[in-house]
Every structure is written in C-alpha cells, then in structure tokens.
Amino acid sequence: MDDLFTIVNTASTLFANNILAKPEFFIGILVFIGYMLLGKPIYEAFGGFIKAAVGMMIWNVGSGGLVTTFRPILAGLNERFHLNAAVIDPYFGLNAAGEAIKMIGMSLSWTMISLMVGFSWNIILVLLRRYTKLRTLFLTGHIMIQQATTCTWIIFFAIPELRNFTGALWIGLLVGTYWAVFSNLTVEPTEELTENAGFAIGHQQMFWVWVTSKLAPKLGNPERSVENIKMPRWLTMFNDNVIATGTLMLLFFGIIMTILGEPYLRGIDKAGFPATLAFPTYILGKSLSFAVYLFILISGVRMFVSELTESFRGISEKLLPGALPAVDCAATYGFSSPNTVLFGFIFGCIGQFIAIAGLFIFQAPIMIITGFVPVFFDNATVAVFANKFGGARAATILALGTGMLQVIGGGFAAWFFELYKFGGWHGNIDWDTLWPVIGVLLKTFSTPGLILVIVLMLMIPQLQYRRSHNKENYFKLTDGSEF
C-alpha cells in the first residue's frame, strides 16, 4: 500500500514539474489527445503535438523579447516621472498577464485547464439550450487563449484562495459563461447586419456590439451611411498590421524616449546604446523592435491556435452540429463598405488620443499607449454596427466614445489589476468596461461575488428570450430547420 502511495506521489510530482510547469508540453499533449479523440491518424496527432509545443515556445521567445525591451523604459518612466505605462493591446495584455501569473509562482498550464473547462462549459450550456436559452458556441481560438489568460490573472489576483486546481475550474466556468452568454447576445444584431449569414460574434467586443446596436438608432439615421463618405486613399495602408503597429510604436515610444532623454537612456542601456549610435537611430531601432517581438509572439500564438481551433471545430461538429458559430469580428466587415472599417479606426484613434491627452492633463498615475488590435478591430466593428443602425453620425460618435473608453477603462484596469508592472493590459472594449466591473465585484466579495457574477450573466439570455419578438424563431437556424 505504501509503495503504491509512493508511486502515485512520485508520478504526480513528476507530472507537476515536467508537464504542468511546462505549458508548451501540456498544450501539446492536449492537442495530441484531442486529435486522437477525433479519430485522426497518430502521425497527424504527433504533428499537432509538435506544432502546438513549438508555437508556444515561439510565443515565449517573443514574450521574453518584449519584456527585456520594455523593462528599461518602464523603469525610466517610474524613476524620472513616477509614471506607469501600459500598452492596451490583447497581445501585450497576454504577455503581461502571463508574466504576472508566473511571478506568483503559478504556471500557464492552469490557464489551459481553464480554457478546456470554459470550452466544455460552453458546449454544455448550448446542449441545455431549452433551459439556458443559449445558442452560440465560441470558436475563436486566439481570443479564447487571451481571455482565459487575462481571466486567470483577474481571479488569481482578486481571490488568492483560488490559486489552485479549484480556481482553474472556477475560471473556466466564469470565462465559459462569458463566451456563451455574450456571443449569444450578438446573434440578433449580427443576423440583422448580415441578413442571416448564420454566425454570431465570438470576440472581444461582444457586450459592446450589443450596446452599439441599442445606442446607434438614437444617434443617427441609417440612410446617411458612411459608404457615401470619401476617405483619403493613404488611410488604406493601415489595413496592413505591420505598418499600423510599427507606426503606432514609433509614435508612442519615440515620444517617450525623447522625453526620457538621450543622457538617461545612454546611462541605463550601455550595451544597446553605444557611443557610436545616434539618438534618432536608437529610437527607431528600439521602437520597431516592439513590433518585431510582437510579431514573433503573434506567429507563435497563431501556430498553436490553428491546431487548437481545428480540434475545437472537430469536437463541436460532433457534439453540436448546427450550433451557431461565434467567430472573429472581422467576419462582419464584408457586410459593410471598406471605408466603414477605416472610418471606425480613425475616429477610434482620435478618441484614444484625446483621452490619453486627458490622462496627461489630469496627471493620472498611469500612461496608456495605443495598441493596434483594440483601436483597429473594436472601433471598426463598432463603426460597422453603428453605421448599419444609425449611419455615419452614430458611427462617428460611437467610435470616438469607444476610443476614449478604451483608454480610461483600460487605464483603470491596468492600474487596478496591477498589470502596469508588466506594461500591458488586454485593452479591448469589453475588457475596459464589463471586466473591470466584474474584477471589482470579485475583489470585493471574493468567491460569493464570483458565483453572483456567473448567475447574473446566465440571467441575460433568459431576459433576451423573454423580450424577443419572435419566440418561435429564437432557436430557428438560417436554413429554417429547428435547432
């Protein structure tokens, strides 16, 4: 008996130190098991293991590069001006939350467990649709990784008792409820926008899409569409994420490094800033290296997420054929004119810049740096929906407002969740509005607060069903069959 106990004990220690503590192998094994369960040949499952593990290791390289590039700048801002800075972008946020989780001695494998729990919970909630009134399955892999990671940090931060396996289960339930409930909330506006194209939004601005669809009709006239507004041709270059990210980084870090000053930077970065290098060259190189590490991180995430998404889709097609897929917000862009997307981006940018200036003027303890993903994708999506329901006027007002809220809410969240220490916050609009509120509730009421949040979220689809004008069609699919 004692022997058996020793063996089990050794095995679990071995597992904890070599698999759980190494998320790259943990996620690789998950993908491997997923592929085997889907009945794929073993060589494909092995390939999936390799790509998932390598992808996650590439992510680590990008993440490490971001951290070392960022550290002297964050330290400088703090030392010279008592300022903290955070980039509001989900990849910077992913990096910051990941570092924070590691700092408290936890592993990102917990996030992967939460992710699996969240995905399974979403499936269960849709299987029980007669009672839950939920119809949508969240299938956007990269978003699920980012949100599960940020959510892991929020709970580990707000409720330290939950820094364990039970906590991972709770995180999964919380994030899975958010996925199911809020993607379900986008069904009606998305169906109206796309004339029943058969998908919902599963992204970072689901709550905000609903808010937009409610506010836009009051703010303008859908007849006066953005489509008729001519946009300058040069703006289309910001469709290119490399150009857009590089430009934003150059703008913001150029200003920050100029303010920190040449003598100071020469002092703290002796190796990177030798006497032979001129200050403008140094700024250009440093700023663009943020973009470089960001793209390394993104390509790593892309590699393992594409494995994950394939298995998720396979599982969902087996268990839930016909569930409405909740997908990337960019899937709606085809249902609007190309200039609506750029229109949202520009007004979102203006909104963010105004709010950042506001933070300066009112001497907020935190400085926000615009990241590409929220300012582009959130505001483009807001503009697409606002334009549909309220025309150009609504698109202008709502994109401006969203940009401002991203900075104010994101600044609050980076400060409240203490992720400014790692220079990033998730930054997409739901994470600057809804999630800070959830975070405050969790911090104040601990586990009872967590249960309350989940229950409150689950009540939303009940209200949605009760208020729907067309109850017979609530569960009807686009092809007319009953789901």
């Binding site: 469709n239 994420n241 897929p325 997908v327 862009y333 190309p338 994708f377």
Partner: protein, 94 residues
C-alpha cells in the same frame, strides 16, 4: 496542386475560418491545394508566390499583384461555402 493563401487583418481569426472553409469546398470539388493563412501585411509581400489569395471583400484593394498567375478573390460572407464554391468556379480553379 495549387497554392492558396487566406488573409485577414491580423492573420489570426478570419483567415483561419476562410482556410477551413476553403479546405472543405476544395475537398468537395476535388481540388488539391496547400492552404496557408496570414495577415494582409504578410500576404501583400507573399502574394505573388501563390496561385490564389482569398480575403474579405473589403481587403481586396490591398493587393496589387502584376503577374498572370495570382488571382485575388474577395469574400462577402467568410463562412459561406456556397459563395466560395461559386467564386472558385467563376475563377476556373482546379
């Protein structure tokens, strides 16, 4: 065997959706292909090495490929297999 790339804003979400949908349609039509997915930024530089670029309709304007090989196909509904099938046939892919 044709080379296909699916492109979207950041090369993460939508391009993966398009990729999975194209793979399904190609299988149905018996077209053999390797399919990659990436961001528009990357795809702009890589496009001339592919036979077809699939992207959202609003992104077509980003591609200016001047050769006889590469076709650019813009999709309105990224999830519609019917639309992909129709455009594949329209462009005579095989």
């Amino acid at each position: 065997m044709i080379k296909v790339v699916a492109a979207c804003g950041n090369g993460m979400g939508s391009s993966q959706i398009i990729k999975m949908k194209i793979a399904k349609v190609f299988k149905k039509l018996g077209i053999e292909a390797t399919i990659d997915h990436m961001s528009v930024g990357e795809a702009k530089s890589a496009a001339s090495g592919y036979d077809v670029v699939f992207c959202g309709a609003s992104l077509v304007g980003n591609f200016t490929v001047k050769n006889n090989r590469t076709k650019i196909i813009g999709l309105v509904n990224l999830l519609s297999e019917a639309e992909i099938e129709e455009k594949v046939k329209e462009n005579g892919l095989k």
